[in-house]
């Protein structure tokens, strides 16, 4: 497309971004890999200066055989899966609703999107205290109003609480993307289906939903990547107790609380592999889009 001169200039302009990201990726990654094969407990006197003992795959084995590993996988799956189901289903419904003509569309859209802009620590604390507190929370007032015993959300329904909070944060994202996708649907297609005698539900099922297929896939993949690493929401609410210790949080605790760097690093490598598997699917979709 272009001349030789511009090509060499282009390479030069790309260099800073590429080098920075390369360093940002490779340096810590190499260190994590290195630590994952070492015994490294700074609290017990291990230090980089004195050299670390090579322990092979011991950290990897210990990480997955520890009693907290499977519960953390379970918590991760529950939270990620729960949020995905809620946000995608409600997101599709909300997107369709917001696509209908009604008074105050702009304002309602702003109301619906707002939670996405609330910083995670704020939304977690607001929900924990002002909505879910068993004495003074809004839910407790509601429960009492209907004559039932308020729920101790954070201890008795901790996973559900986290799912609720995180869904609230991510529902706007799903809605917004799906709404954008719906609006790109060619209205002539729907009109053709209508002329062909398809009723509303059939039009939704055979035309709208397939059209949304790609957008839904993208929502699922991107959310999965972000949801796998939710941190602040757990950090400020349950602190990982009551069955809300996700894989991310477990690794965090291994590194920060118990200061077992080797073990935490092995967990980190697992997390990186897991994220990359999902990333691969996402990149294939995004990559296809690039070819246009």
């Amino acid at each position: 497309m272009a001349t030789r001169h511009s090509r060499s200039a282009a390479r030069l302009m790309m260099a800073p971004a590429v080098i920075l990201l390369m360093g940002w990726m490779l340096v810590p990654l190499t260190m994590t890999l290195y630590f994952s094969f070492k015994r490294y407990l700074p609290m017990r006197g291990d230090s980089l200066e004195r050299g670390l003992d090579w322990v092979g795959f011991e950290n990897y084995v210990r990480f997955i055989t520890s009693s907290s590993f499977w519960p953390s996988v379970q918590a991760t799956l529950l939270i990620v899966g729960g949020v995905l189901v809620i946000t995608v289903i409600l997101g599709v419904l909300l997107a369709i609703l917001l696509d209908q003509p009604f008074w105050g569309q702009g304002v309602v859209r702003i109301l619906v999107i707002a939670p996405f802009f609330v910083m995670p620590t704020v939304s977690a604390l607001v929900w924990k205290n002002m909505m879910m507190d068993p004495v003074n929370g809004m839910f407790a007032h509601l429960w009492r109003f209907f004559g039932t015993q308020p729920v101790s959300w954070m201890s008795d329904a901790s996973v559900q609480s986290i799912i609720l909070i995180v869904s609230w944060q991510w529902l706007p994202f799903a809605t917004l993307i799906l709404l954008t996708a719906i609006q790109s649907l060619d209205s002539e297609q729907l009109e053709a289906a209508e002329m062909d005698g398809a009723p509303v539900l059939a039009r939704f099922w055979f035309i709208v939903l397939p059209h949304l297929g790609r957008a839904i896939t993208i929502v699922i993949l991107i959310q999965t990547i972000f949801l796998l690493s939710i941190f602040a929401e757990i950090f400020v609410t349950t602190g990982g107790s009551f069955g809300t210790r996700t894989l991310t949080y477990l690794i965090f605790q291994r590194v920060v609380d118990s200061q077992n760097i080797g073990l935490g690093s092995a967990g980190g490598v697992y997390a990186i592999i897991l994220a990359n598997i999902i990333a691969l699917f996402l990149m294939r979709i995004v990559g296809k889009n690039l070819d246009r």
């Binding site: 497309m1 272009a2 001349t3």
Partner: protein, 334 residues
């Protein structure tokens, strides 16, 4: 001055050879049209001349000087793009003045030349508008204005009319021809529309798959197409091309006869057939006639209104003076 010479110029993108080595000379003041079906390499050839693409081999000379390695800005050429490529954030005045500003002319001189160009192109009332507020034809004129203020040694047009509607296209065609008559500057014009080529060119270059099929004046191409491709491409409606026994009778593999060179008779003639679809244009009538022994329907032009109906049996006779004969390689036989 604007004499452009291509000497064994070739272009490949990676493995793919888009233009095999070709030679071409464009004389000063000539209006040359590159014509061919899409993908024939005509736009690439234009971009090579412009300097927007590097040549893979060969030499481009402008007024005798080697310009092969000269960047586009320094070649002294001006280009009008298919998409007009106007700067959306600048007013019409700024758009037209842009090349002058780049050349470092002072503001007064810029304004004088912009005024002159706007005057020629009927843009005076629109100088302060943005491109987004103009119609397609007006945008086209701004693009031309931007090209003429530089007083280039040659204009390059890349399918400039293909985004306009049919009526406007005819008008702009005349305007560009008029401009050429007045400026007498070399113009190279790329199009896939053979009508544009026939009506505007001094010299037509027919391209196919990067190869030059024929170079000549419009009438040379019309009268004596060098091969089957040119024969089929130039002229509207298309020349009838007939093979088989009928061609053999004329000592050729394929014969070609233009619709306007066939006479029609109800009683007698060379080919017998039945009238199919007829197209009435008022001035002319075109009949598509299914003839015995000819697989494709033969197109015939008859002047004025003629009352023949679907299913009528008629006789056709090709005018022997205008019969084109081609050999088995598709080349013209004299």
């Amino acid at each position: 001055m604007g004499r452009i010479t291509l000497d064994k110029v070739a272009k490949s993108f990676g493995e793919v050879e888009v233009i095999p080595p070709l030679d071409l000379t464009i004389e000063d003041g000539e209006f040359v049209v590159f014509v061919g079906p899409s993908g024939c390499g005509k736009s690439t050839l234009l971009r090579l001349i412009a300097g927007l693409e590097d040549v893979s081999a060969g030499e481009i000379r402008i007024d005798g000087k080697d310009a092969t390695a000269v960047p586009p800005a320094k070649r002294g050429l001006a280009m009008v793009f298919q998409s007009y490529a106007l700067y959306p954030h600048m007013s019409v005045r700024k758009n037209i003045a842009f090349p002058l500003r780049m050349a470092g002319l002072d503001a007064a001189e810029q304004e004088r030349r912009v005024r002159a160009a706007a005057d020629v192109l009927n843009l005076t009332d629109y100088l302060d508008r943005r491109p987004g507020q103009l119609s397609g034809g007006q945008r086209q004129r701004v693009a031309i204005g931007r090209a003429i203020v530089r007083e280039p040694s040659a204009f390059l047009f890349d399918e400039p009319l293909s985004n306009l509607d049919a009526a406007l296209r005819v008008g702009m065609r005349l305007e560009i021809s008029e401009l050429h008559n007045r400026l007498k500057t070399t113009m190279i014009y790329v199009t896939h529309d053979q009508v544009e080529a026939m009506t505007m060119a001094d010299k037509i270059v027919v391209l196919r798959a990067g190869n030059i099929e024929q170079v000549g004046s419009p009438l040379e191409l019309y009268r004596a197409p060098r091969n089957l491709f040119v024969a089929g491409f130039i002229g509207s409606p298309k020349m009838n091309l007939i093979g088989g026994d009928i061609a053999a009778r004329h000592h050729a593999t394929t014969i070609g006869i233009r619709p306007e060179h066939i006479s029609v008779s109800p009683e007698a003639g060379e080919w017998h057939g039945t009238v199919g679809v007829s197209e009435h244009l008022g001035s002319d009538t075109f009949f598509h006639v299914a003839c015995e022994g000819i697989p494709e329907p033969v197109t015939v032009r008859v002047g004025g209104e003629v009352s023949l109906h679907h299913g009528d049996a008629i006789w056709l006779t090709p005018d022997p003076d205008h019969l084109h004969r081609f050999d088995k390689d598709g080349l013209r036989v004299a």
